[in-house]
Symmetry: C2
Subunit: 330 residues, 2 copies
DNA sequence: CTGAAAGCGCTTACAG
DNA sequence: CTGAAAGCGCTTACAG
């Protein structure tokens, strides 16, 4: 039996008798034969792998995101190559270059990425989808969370609860999500009469939220409500308040962003903006696959995934309420 | 200039003049040429990639673990292929088979894996390292957390705090970490005079901890202390206690396991067992690389990483204390 | 130090 | 339906 026949049998070609296919499969199973990916890729020009370039892996946000990508990738028989934790643009560039020629497409989420960066480091022929990125232009498909809308809605919610003196804990500078969330906050405050606000710098980690919380407690006048640009910082901030016996929401209201799985288990359960993180990963992968299948199709443009305010106990009452414990796990 | 020379220049072969190398590199940069991984792999028999087979990706444990693996892999120029979320042994087997021929080695952490499974689905020639696995035998290197020792030490700590009526929330059945932690608890209780215990079934997710907490509150007699087999469940349990206005540690002490980054930000901060999760991933990768470099070396045996009880506020005082807020982030 | 040539293990027209 | 043969893009002895 020739290698050609074996190849056809294993790859499900129609031009093989059932008997032959079966014999081949049996033998392959017995010998635990697995075709060498490299050889196959060399001739098919497909690696059956996609790459994910991520900024970092701290916290539940990224485990959710990777999970969404992984599930969608496996459903399509694609392998997932991850690369993360690059502190600067050079490391991100190296990671991106190293992926080239090893993957059929890349998913990119990185604060260091802008149009020029991509032009320099990304082959024109490699399909790519940007997640939560300011850059993109016409060349790249983009998938964004509605950071601005979510932050705007949450700020409106805080105002509707009667809070007037608001504080915002920002994410890292130059981070697109962070700046969009900040913008949503700013605009909602500007549109409200009699509302004042202050801003504290954070970096999306718990520790920076904790520090911001301490700083707010030390201020001459404490705010009515604190809106942290993500849940991790809100949790850090909550920890500072709890430590100081400042009651939430009795003394200060507190809100986050992302609705990471743990948010509902806080004390008090955290009011936050629900982002379907895993869905973002999944949608991004599917967008990428579409691009890989039709490389000459027109660029896909920007898709924005909606967010939703999830009202729990940390902001005081506002009339509305969500029976959250009953909501299915994402 | 021949392709051979280009290849040598790009791969750092000594047999090339500096001038030639420079010309090649300049041209490669200008054309954004990246050697095709598949072709290179085919001839070198190295993919420069390693695979990580993980059971799931929920929560901070896995984001920490992947981070540790990723950092160590990048330091060695290796790509990281992840595969997770397989609900049963068949899916895990498919994932493992699909990786074969695409990676130079695999890191395996999966509750579905035992000696027979590995024998059936893993090529003899593929280096592999098992993390937190009961299986292994002589064929595989293993890297385990000292689950038993950590749980034993934590239970001793609870007893030293004066608690006598203990409850344990277990992890999923058939999970090695879970059963080892349970064993540590059981043995420490058995060795203590006058101590009683009860066990509640959990599955390592917050929700199951929450349910266990509710069940404990509904019991005729509440325990003095609850030891959850991981932090996620402890957090869920804490949420149930907080909701019911049961004070921790005033009314019931509570301890977890893993010391995920968020544990210290709970209210009260969670006493738990510190596991250097990222270090586990990193150590496993280094063990794997050693095996890849010396495939004929004798199998490495079992390494057990120590754990450490981190005393925070959730279990009441015991004399000892850890200045935890000051501990450097891992 | 450089080049010509073989060969890695597959897939896929092309014959038969 | 099956097989012989070319070729994918690299690396690496082997000559020169």
């Amino acid at each position: 039996m020739s290698v050609a026949t074996v190849s056809r049998a294993l790859n499900g070609s129609a031009a093989v008798t059932a008997r032959t296919r079966e014999r081949v499969q049996r033998a392959a199973a017995r010998l635990r034969y697995v075709p060498l990916g490299a050889a196959r890729s060399l001739v098919t020009r497909r690696t059956q792998a996609i790459g994910a370039l991520l900024p970092d892996l701290f916290g539940e946000f990224f485990s959710e995101l990777i999970r969404g990508i992984d599930v969608a990738a496996r459903a399509r028989g694609l392998h997932l190559l991850v690369s993360s934790s690059h502190g600067d643009a050079d490391e991100a560039a190296a990671a991106l270059r190293a992926m080239q020629g090893r993957v059929d497409g890349v998913l990119i989420m990185s604060p260091h990425v802008d149009a020029g960066f991509l032009k320099r480091h990304l082959s024109d022929s490699l399909p790519a989808v940007l997640m939560n990125s300011a850059a993109g232009g016409r060349r790249f498909a983009r998938l964004n969370i509605d950071n601005h809308g979510g932050a705007f809605a949450m700020t409106r919610h805080l105002l509707a609860c009667g809070h007037r003196d608001l504080a915002f804990i920002t994410g890292p500078e130059c981070n697109y999500d962070a700046s969009e969330r900040h913008r949503g906050f700013r605009e909602a405050v500007a549109a409200a009469r009699g509302a004042t606000s202050r801003v504290l710098q954070g970096d999306f980690n718990e520790e920076s939220g904790y520090r911001a919380g301490r700083a707010l407690l030390a201020a001459k006048k404490r705010p009515d409500a604190v809106f942290a640009a993500n849940d991790m910082m809100a949790i850090g901030c909550l920890s500072a308040f709890n430590e100081a016996r400042v009651r939430v929401p009795g003394d200060i209201a507190l809100a986050g962003f992302d609705d990471i799985p743990i948010a509902r288990f806080m004390h008090p359960p955290l009011t936050t903006v629900w982002v379907r993180i895993a869905d973002l990963g999944q949608a991004a992968l599917e967008r990428l696959v579409a691009q890989m299948d039709a490389p000459d199709a027109p660029p896909a443009g920007v898709t924005t995934l909606p967010c939703e305010v999830v009202v729990r106990a940390s902001c005081g009452s506002s009339g509305r309420h969500t029976a959250d414990r009953d909501r299915a796990q994402p």
